[in-house]
Symmetry: C2
């Protein structure tokens, strides 16, 4: 369930006018910006953007950027785009820095194959290259093998399960993980090509037949970027909400807070399943996500995140 | 240009009736079957299939199979399906036997990214698994790396070219090929992820800067299944019609003729670009493709192929 509170009834033109007013003069009225855009769904935001540019003949995004600043600006910049465009942008940023495998794994493993395809198309339109070629060009070795396979695959999305196969592939995975050969071709093949339903079955067999969860078992190998990426992929494919809860937990418990991760999860999930992620967070940490966010952030950034988390102002 | 000669005006019901009549009694009237189905495009064939089943409450494909035999039956069975369904079927057959890398390379490298996606979707609907997972499960080692990458990628289809990149990647390819390390990760990365337009530019730089065509240079390495597959991929990506001409040439000059390859190229290209492939064939072999086909085949199979090649009866 989404946490976003958006009205059924709204006027794109009235919103555009109110935003223009909030931008006007010395100092932006950030509260007004949050009160409007923090309560509009993707389709509504798109219409406001369009209405604003038609009415004022001004680039809406540029104006927004010039009016806001810091983490608040960054979060709003993620929020204002069409989700597939925003996700393409997030992946591109992730590819360029380090690259940050987490975002690439998240997008490729959590989204449905059809939704991820839409993001890959948006990526091509924006960057005139495929996501696959950019990931491949910026990575190497085992990490390249894993990430390119995850990004490239168009998984089967049906619910059919082959139980015999799940059992035999659980054994293949177990052997490779027990031998601490995490970069084994068979691990990459199974994780990167099987359908989510099939992988769930394999994961259950793993636990039943080998007495340990696969993602925990992976941690028995020496820790490396590759092992973390593999573990993230397994978690994203089989328990995405738990995965997000952990990203939030780590982002908030870090000294200095990982705002990029915090913003990403809240902005990308507010219209999808942030309600369930909040529940998981509370169960795991004995404190509400709102409370933790309020404690670790401040100012307009804090107000905006809390608004997306469903706080009614 | 297509070689198929199909009427603009036709009646699906009249065709269904004529086919029913051709099937009737002892011995099928194969000539009538060819005269109808050999002159109908994909959309028309689909309507005939539907009209037949509605009118006679009988599985059209099963009836067709029971009426025909040998290579003719096989060719008709390829022809009658919706192209994306047929291509999915061809890939599935190829995966199961050996696997036959040629068909997998052809489909993944010659089709446009969007068309290939349609085939991958048809594959999932037919087999309840993704093409990626089946290819991955049936291959291993370098061949798996290459084929899974080719099948998995959704290439950028735009025409933009990065000349600097083409030059630098031509050098990377040249170094690996000169060192006879055809399974180099960088070769697989470049061939499997770059757009066709970009690869054309890279190929031109290769020839200009290194004085040999890339696909010829590959043959300097010891011949192996992998080197053939790599070469096929390069040819399919950069000169698909020449690739098909060669498949036909090899199929026809073999002792005993390779009917599978012959049927596949004619059936899959008759509605696309078989006219240009015929021209290339003539230029290369000083004999028309029709003449060569007539010489190497016989009976209804021969009549059917010649009909698809544009022979007007």
């Amino acid at each position: 369930m989404a946490t976003l509170i958006a009205p059924d009834d709204f006027s794109a033109v009235a919103d555009a006018e109110a935003l223009k007013k909030a931008f006007h003069g010395w100092g932006t009225n950030e509260k007004a910006v949050i009160a409007i855009l923090g309560h509009r769904n993707a389709a509504q935001r798109k219409l406001i953007w369009k209405a604003y540019e038609e009415k004022y003949q001004e680039n809406f995004i540029k104006r927004l950027e010039s009016e806001l600043s810091g983490h608040f600006e960054k979060a709003m910049y993620r929020w204002i785009f069409d989700p597939s465009d925003r996700d393409a942008l997030l992946v591109n940023v992730a590819i360029k820095k380090v690259p940050d495998y987490r975002v690439i794994v998240e997008m490729s493993c959590i989204k449905s194959p059809e939704d991820f395809l839409i993001v890959k198309r948006a990526y091509q339109i924006r960057y005139k290259r495929s996501m696959e070629e950019d990931v491949a060009a910026q990575t190497s070795g085992d990490m390249r093998k894993l990430l390119v396979a995850l990004v490239g695959v168009h998984r089967y999305a049906g619910g059919e399960i082959d139980t015999k196969l799940a059992k035999s592939e659980a054994d293949i995975l177990n052997k490779a993980i027990k031998d601490k050969v995490l970069n084994h071709d068979e691990i990459i093949r199974i994780i990167s090509t099987r359908s989510k339903a099939q992988l769930m079955a394999t994961r259950n067999h793993y636990k039943d037949d080998h007495g340990i969860s696969i993602s925990k078992h992976v941690t028995h190998s020496p820790s490396s970027e590759f092992s973390s990426a593999l573990r993230a992929a397994i978690k994203c494919l089989t328990e995405p909400k738990k995965y997000y809860e952990k990203v939030l937990r780590n982002a908030l418990k870090q000294k200095g807070t990982d705002e990029d991760a915090l913003t990403r999860v809240i902005v990308t999930r507010a219209e999808v399943d942030l309600e369930e992620i909040k529940d998981l967070y509370y169960k795991r940490n004995n404190v509400t996500l709102e409370h933790a966010v309020a404690k670790e952030t401040s100012g307009d950034y804090k107000s905006f995140l809390l608004t997306l988390l469903g706080k009614n102002d």
